[in-house]
Symmetry: D2
Amino acid sequence: MGEYFKNVPVVKYEGPKSTNPFSYKFYDKDRIVRGKTMGEQLKFAMAWWHTLCANGVDMFGSATQDKSFGTSDAMDLAKAKVYAGFEFMEKLGIDYFCFHDRDLAPEGRTLEESNENLAKIVDVVAEQQKLSGKKLLWGTANLFGNPRYMHGASTSPNVDVYAYAAAQVKAAMDATVKLGGHAYVFWGGREGYETLLNTDMGLELDNMARFFKMAIAYGNKIGFDGDFYIEPKPKEPTKNQYDFDAATALNFLRKYDLLDRFKLNIEANHATLAGHTFQHELAVARINGAFGSVDANQGDELLGWDTDQFPTQLYSTTLAMLEILKAGGFTNGGLNFDSKQRRGSFTLEDTALAHIAGMDSFALGLLIADKIIEDGRIGDFVDKRYASWNSDLGKSIIAGNESFESLSAIALKNGEVTTNISGRQELLENIFNQILVSGV
Amino acid sequence: MGEYFKNVPVVKYEGPKSTNPFSYKFYDKDRIVRGKTMGEQLKFAMAWWHTLCANGVDMFGSATQDKSFGTSDAMDLAKAKVYAGFEFMEKLGIDYFCFHDRDLAPEGRTLEESNENLAKIVDVVAEQQKLSGKKLLWGTANLFGNPRYMHGASTSPNVDVYAYAAAQVKAAMDATVKLGGHAYVFWGGREGYETLLNTDMGLELDNMARFFKMAIAYGNKIGFDGDFYIEPKPKEPTKNQYDFDAATALNFLRKYDLLDRFKLNIEANHATLAGHTFQHELAVARINGAFGSVDANQGDELLGWDTDQFPTQLYSTTLAMLEILKAGGFTNGGLNFDSKQRRGSFTLEDTALAHIAGMDSFALGLLIADKIIEDGRIGDFVDKRYASWNSDLGKSIIAGNESFESLSAIALKNGEVTTNISGRQELLENIFNQILVSGV
Amino acid sequence: MGEYFKNVPVVKYEGPKSTNPFSYKFYDKDRIVRGKTMGEQLKFAMAWWHTLCANGVDMFGSATQDKSFGTSDAMDLAKAKVYAGFEFMEKLGIDYFCFHDRDLAPEGRTLEESNENLAKIVDVVAEQQKLSGKKLLWGTANLFGNPRYMHGASTSPNVDVYAYAAAQVKAAMDATVKLGGHAYVFWGGREGYETLLNTDMGLELDNMARFFKMAIAYGNKIGFDGDFYIEPKPKEPTKNQYDFDAATALNFLRKYDLLDRFKLNIEANHATLAGHTFQHELAVARINGAFGSVDANQGDELLGWDTDQFPTQLYSTTLAMLEILKAGGFTNGGLNFDSKQRRGSFTLEDTALAHIAGMDSFALGLLIADKIIEDGRIGDFVDKRYASWNSDLGKSIIAGNESFESLSAIALKNGEVTTNISGRQELLENIFNQILVSGV
Amino acid sequence: MGEYFKNVPVVKYEGPKSTNPFSYKFYDKDRIVRGKTMGEQLKFAMAWWHTLCANGVDMFGSATQDKSFGTSDAMDLAKAKVYAGFEFMEKLGIDYFCFHDRDLAPEGRTLEESNENLAKIVDVVAEQQKLSGKKLLWGTANLFGNPRYMHGASTSPNVDVYAYAAAQVKAAMDATVKLGGHAYVFWGGREGYETLLNTDMGLELDNMARFFKMAIAYGNKIGFDGDFYIEPKPKEPTKNQYDFDAATALNFLRKYDLLDRFKLNIEANHATLAGHTFQHELAVARINGAFGSVDANQGDELLGWDTDQFPTQLYSTTLAMLEILKAGGFTNGGLNFDSKQRRGSFTLEDTALAHIAGMDSFALGLLIADKIIEDGRIGDFVDKRYASWNSDLGKSIIAGNESFESLSAIALKNGEVTTNISGRQELLENIFNQILVSGV
């Protein structure tokens, strides 16, 4: 099978002063941070599609990156990608991967053939897993690329499309279980509408819920005891997508009583497209008991589409890691690099350099988050800020013992409120910066 | 009490050809449209704050509009506004109004005095209601203007503020019931956060839910059997507001089991700030059984703040009326003009001209929506588009009789999907335009 | 050559009451509006790329539309597109077209072959022009699709790319002249930067200016006496494009002394991506003496990328036509449909229905603009609003006879300003609506 | 005059490990960085309006911050602000300030009285300057707050307003010269339009240019030899402002031949509102020879209005300082904190803590920028990237010796471009992070 990433050496931790581009300056896999190794805290995963398939095509230009891996036959290419992918994970020290059915194996002329293609490649992957110990973080089905899904998959107006989508998810769930995946993801890029003039939103959402119930039933049948995730995204490709953001997905899950088996896969760039910070979406997932996994990337807040950049913004990675630590860290989920090298970063070396940048940035995020917790100034401030909720009155309200009448009487007695304290946002931001630049 | 809007005559329907600025060209109150009068279908309400209090102040400039109504004493002004308001409703033929406690009566030196001020003015309003037959659409409390609420009201970190807010809502609910209001609104302009660095989002939302439960309990006690509404808004003044959009509010209501007494008050400009169309938010409310009332205005999609313009965009008013008709029309709710005349439209005549523009635009929205329904081309297209859900397979899926296995078997037998039909968006938009310009 | 758009009949004007989808309800080509036929006022052009090449591919999905025209050989397809294109123009009654070199003819294995391919197809087009009388509105070169342009064309850091781009534009200008085009367009989709970390913006812009000077020199040599246009776009595909908007392009043209030969091609969707209305960009072009041509489409203001929808928003088309009429109408330019049918509108009938929607919408824009001018209320209001600039003082300021000292003396004498009059925005919007729905 | 900022001690540099909130961790005024002291490189200025006048009012709430300085008389307050302001600058070690006429002294009942008020306070300021050595960075006139300017000042449709604005600027320029200011700023918050329906944009811009020419003439007369600055802002309060961004202002300055006396004052938050990064706007100013001064703050890219936050984002401050160093550093300009403490940071201590945060963040920006330059990896990469422009062909193009014909011949000979090199964005971002966290 040869070597595919020839100019990419094995990448090792060399510390903050190294100028070797092919080294980790901050990601030190076995270093213990908050009781686990960095590897366990971060659980990096390679995204099969971007790393092995994406070639720099955009809406205005053709491929700049050669991901042909020396072959033009579709099934040969699929196999080459398996070997290339495991070589890449090995060289970079990445333990997990994620896939869509159709970036693993090519769509055949018929559904039967597609299923066979998938099964064949799954066998090759399974073999490589055995050799390497690499693990599947999650699997999913591509229900958006083929023209048949142009008006939706589980929300299609066309019942034939719905059946086709069911068949495809069935096979993708089989593959996920076979490869030992502990999670299965639904991203609904075509589940939404282009115009309400031609759309019955109520029926479409009812049908999506029916689809998810079938997925649970099928999972139970085949022994899948992992998480299902919804991955929210507000728009693109579709004008309005039904899983707009975390809260919207949660309303759906609650409405249709799906919350016991479903959690959320939060993507940084999807958060910003919805008008939220990455941290916000993680927090919403957490307080609703639905934190599952993360698609690690970043967008450009001045651009209105999904740029899927490798994450290098340390404010974002640090605040994300603070939230993830608050949520207790990852169980079934992890940090999947749903990130693509820039179109102008067109070499296979860039594929590695971009992962290194993302991994070092999340490693820094973890290390700085840890230092913020240890420093204690920010945490103490927050505790003090909410201290009145530990007072007798605070406890009584929380216990449900108060009413508008009782509180009104208290307020009339109290007179004007004189107990507010400054929110100190600028001071807190300054402390954050001080810790950020203070060395890790 | 004199006449306050001296240059504003009684405004009457004069038909589409009139060039009299002080006439309705399209709002013909008693004309029957879809089984009700236009007055009943539209239920226009005057917003006490914008119409009687707003004076053109913005973040960079002082008042351009004189809403002093001839006095500078706070309580005299409050009374003058009652008379001015009823004069305005009378001249314009508007039957409803909405208020915040603090635009009805001034805040006093103490909470007690504030409550007394409110009670006094409520008596004056009640008297005017008796004389005129004008009705209260809904009431609310201003829990955002006073500095005590700078960090939130029902989500304040400070339990004293929470108690104060409870007292204020209690009095505002009393006023609402006294004036015969069938709805009470919560808009959480300060319920949210400026930075997550200093915020405990989980506790704050729990507390907000506790607050709403007390409101329900108090309502039950004082015989309020109307609707409670949450009015979603994503941001402004606060960086991130907890009631971001309809779906976010619904997730909250479901999580805390409040959906049986709460519905939504959808504001057009808040919808666009959240990245949605007005129609979208109405549709989300409708399919979740939570359509309540409307704050009728419009934003400027190229601007990132709440411009609260009088609604004059006919695409928006028509699509909104289509949704409202689908939802069965208004019960307790109506169309409240949460709209302010432009700062440069500084005369009291503009106050009237702006309302006329808004009322004619919604009247046109209703008339065009009616014509679209009568025309039938768009509705028929949608029915046909979803026809496969009435097939045996469609019915079986809806009945819950299918599984991934059964659907997969069907899909394998079917082969590739060949039954998709064009979504015809451009044709539908063209039909819409054809009807729009075809005369009402 | 056969018939390509088999289900598309010849489309004729049938008037506002027709329910025939394949008819114009408002575009009546020979009707005289403001002294010219509608055909002359609107000068519709078919965009070769969208109409004949685009197939519904987006960043998340493959082709839904079949534009293979019965062949898979690249040159045969290029020829078929010529016949299909002229058939389409004939059936729709469109007199003009626009092209990029590479959607006219395929890129060859070498530049030489590419040039030959282009020359061959240009001959076929020229022949069809002779038979049909159809005219070229403008030509351009695709300097963004090929990977060689990944870092820019005339702003590439690589001088070899610059030379290649020069060669390509030379050939495209030859083709434009050969086909009788009166304009040549530069759209700089890759002229900009992804990150300033690796970019020398000053050098890149100097080089772009040098490129344009060579274009002028070459144009003079080959007898091209038409307009050069810059088509501004702020972003997409590149993060920041140098021709951000009309004003940015004008600053560039002024800095490098290019304004005598360059004008602007304003695209509606590019305007909104830059945070402007379509009308604004047209007005900026007009008052700078640089109004050239229009790419007629529309975006979705809630989406952050170029959706290139067929224009159906009548506020936008009407305000655009008002500006175009103010600019004296088109000379070398026209209305080019840089618009693509929605991905879900996947049939060749939709290609026609979408053009019909766009043409009827601009026809309505023209007719309503004409009625607004005839009505006179809006124009009269504006004249009166600026009347003080015709006073003695106004004239003296305009004549340059006043100074801060003289004006200060006048202001001190005048005392506070009492002569402001309301801007009456709401009234004007209401008059606009009244005319909009009053029938054409 | 007493002490105004009683709980604010003198703030000194204590180094990166200090946990004293009232210390600089990074701003070490006399430390030499790139040949100048940090004080000279950064030239921090206090903004009179935010620091001494702003009180936390926003569109939905009243003041949270007490900036009454112990008095309620307008002129006494103006004087108190002078003493408070100089005390604040002294304690914080800030050497410069900036003002609007109306935040220095209150508007009187007449223009005459306003002028007298201003002159009186200017005398008090001048006296304090003499005592303290503090300097005026720039002055400006508030031409946006008073209702008379509701439709613009130098672009008003009303010639009386124009004269009044001239009088006001004359007095503000007098004050600027009297206080030794080397720059005078025009920010056109009302110079723009709310709707083009009532606007003559061409006339308004001509008038604005006339106004600026009078300013130059008057400046020459009174011996003002400093810079005039335009401060671009795209919108807010006005829907569309004529000085949209740097490029738009430059087009205006070029069109009316004003570029020899005018430069730009770039504000970070205005940049982001226009869809640009702060760095972009600085770069545009620099390459057009128009870099003047900076309004140092930051916005929130998920919010659509001017939040004027104290700058704490180190990516932004570092990239800004890199551009400023490239431009040769400040001459007449400096870093003016057009930043306001958050509404919830309501104490006078927060006023200081917020400035400390901003100053430390820009100090870090300077230090990190210096380290990036010293490190050399990024700079070397850029040099190498553009190396082909130093080849013979590159030089020949730059010298103007090439044509489309000569370049086409070269390209035909070259064949396909094989000389592109990766843009390495991810690597460069990673190097940036490595330096950012490596200690200063």
